[in-house]
Amino acid sequence: MSEKNIYLPYLMKVEKITIEAPGVKTFKLKFVNDEDSNSFNFAAGQFGEYSIFGVGESTFCIASSPTRKGFIECTFRQVGKVTSALSNCEEGSIIGFRGPYGNKFPIDQWKGKSLLFVAGGIALPPMRCVIWNSLDLRENFKDITIVYGARTVNDLVYKHELEEWNDRKDVRLITTVDPGGETPDWKGEIGFVPTVLEKVAPSSQDTIAIVCGPPVMIKFTFPVLYKLGFTDENIYTTLENRMKCGFGKCGRCNVGEYYVCKDGPVFSGKQLKELPDEY
């Protein structure tokens, strides 16, 4: 019984904290043990369990790109018990992390295609991982378009990176805020993500659409994508079902015969159709 205890987290040091938006922070985490750091690998789309000892665990995606080694990043909103405790961490604090879990975005299969990223609010973090992953392998893809919206200007996360993407010639970035969420100097779009997506109408020719957002956004975005000519085979999303173990035992993310933690969290539009509407 010398097998490693799967529930035992890596110890991680909070290297850097970035305040992204009201209540939203990004942690840059480094492995306390170098051996762990050297042996750790993950792929874009995977997630983990982040924990505060004495409080509990919480599930988020790994928001950094696997092309950037030696650290991982997570972005979370302070809402419940664990995220509040995480939010109270300072640089230098030690937290737990176990993972990576779940499948990945099939980024290898997207070689030579254009990519369209559509994200809403706090759902940019799971997409940021695959955005940077593809930007770091930029020559593998044709056009890269990012449509990102939040309720208000203040709620847009990764503001520095949005600027960086905006300045790049090889990325087309469209940002939008919900009506009423704009500031006087706001230069982006005003309107809900699906509406803005339809307006900016990126080509569906040879293009993969990657969508992530609150369920209501997903619900209204898929029909727009169909209208633009995308098919279920060319649309991917990542689901956010509640999880505890991360490896198909605790039963929490079970939807139909599938486990979001094992069969997902990344699903194609086609796979999504096989799931009962419980996500």
Binding site: M1, I6, Y7, E57, K244, G248, R252, Y258
Partner: protein, 341 residues
């Protein structure tokens, strides 16, 4: 392997219990406490009861404890240090007095804990458990093992199965596995040569009430039906059904800390609770109780057979007995055979 059969006198059961206890085995057995019978650790055979139709809690607790330590840690100003849990500290255990519907629960539980990652904690506990079962010589209106592939004298999951031979004080002992053989070897004098007995006539009569493959098909065809809402109208979402179930394996992971000493544990949970699936945002994929009732039944009768090739119900009837608002799973399953909308 062929099943060896022996005859064991009633007085020998106590001796066998004592021998196993003397070997240092942790003995789980059904004890009557405050009007409820549950599997608990005991060293005293006189406290053990096997005269019951059903225990309140299932024997699952021995392989999958209600709350189970994953690891310890200390947390103070100096930082965090983690102390792993050593599975070798799990003792050799005998679970005594298990009915076939609980022993039959091992197969679905093991399927869940092993379908992808092989859960080391569960497997270590199970490896160290010997199951001594007792056939059922009585049943009640809640029992339906025969409708879900079991029977009141089923050997599956048992290492040794005893069947009481009518009003005599003798038991037929069926030695089902190598673990069972090892127990026989510990006290061979207690296991006498068996006469030619037909155990079926000593078993409880549990009528077959439905065909589970039919029920599976109905559930899948009527996923959107109102039948789920009709059946669960009075469900309180208390989760009692999951806590008494021999096959429910859903769990939560929690931290418990006192001062600087803490531990992370996994503990039973229920898909019947509204919080079970609720997202941080407040969005809940199974927002109403009927969806949660459907999940409970479909997980056992459709998703598990599809994904794990095993049904998640052994017909023990505990969920019906425990339900505070008298939702009877057997009645609901039978009525599902009739649904047409």
């Amino acid at each position: 392997m062929s099943i060896d059969k022996h005859l064991v006198r009633k007085a020998s059961l106590e001796k066998l219990f004592a021998v196993l206890k003397l070997q240092g085995k942790t003995m789980y057995a059904p004890l009557l406490r405050n009007g409820k019978i549950s599997y608990e650790i005991t060293g005293n055979f006189a406290d053990v009861t096997i005269e019951f139709i059903q225990t309140t809690q299932s024997a699952k607790v021995a392989a999958f404890p209600r709350t189970e330590k994953l690891f310890n840690y200390t947390k103070d100003k100096e930082g965090v240090s983690v102390k792993d849990f050593d599975p070798n500290s799990i003792p050799e255990t005998v679970v005594w007095g298990v009915h076939p519907c609980d022993a039959g629960g091992i197969s679905p539980l093991s399927a869940i804990f092993n379908w992808d990652y092989k859960d080391n904690l569960y497997n270590t506990r199970l490896e160290r458990i010997t199951v001594i079962g007792f056939s059922c010589n009585k049943a009640d209106e809640y029992c339906f093992c025969t409708s879900v592939g079991g029977n009141p004298g089923g050997v599956a999951g048992n290492d040794i199965l005893f069947t009481k031979l009518g009003d005599s004080s003798d038991y037929l002992a069926e030695i089902v596995t190598d673990k069972g053989k090892a127990l026989v070897n510990a006290a061979p004098e207690l296991f006498e040569a068996a006469q030619d007995v037909e155990k079926e006539k000593y078993l409880a009569d549990v009528p077959n009430r439905f065909n589970r493959e039919d029920i599976k098909g109905k559930m899948e065809a009527f996923f959107e039906s109102e039948v789920w809402a009709e059946q669960s109208m009075r469900c309180l979402g208390c989760g009692a059904c999951a806590y008494v179930c021999p096959t429910c394996a859903c769990f939560d992971i929690q931290d418990e800390i006192h001062g600087k000493n803490g531990m992370r544990v996994r503990c039973w949970d229920s898909c019947g609770f509204s919080m079970f699936t609720m997202h941080t945002s407040g969005h809940n994929p199974r927002d109403i109780q009927s969806q949660r009732w459907r999940q409970r039944l479909m997980h056992k009768f459709s998703y598990m057979p599809d994904r794990l090739s095993v049904y998640g119900c052994t017909g023990c009837g505990r969920c019906s007995r425990a339900c505070p608002v008298d939702m009877n799973i057997l009645e609901h399953l039978i009525s599902m055979q009739e649904i047409k909308k």
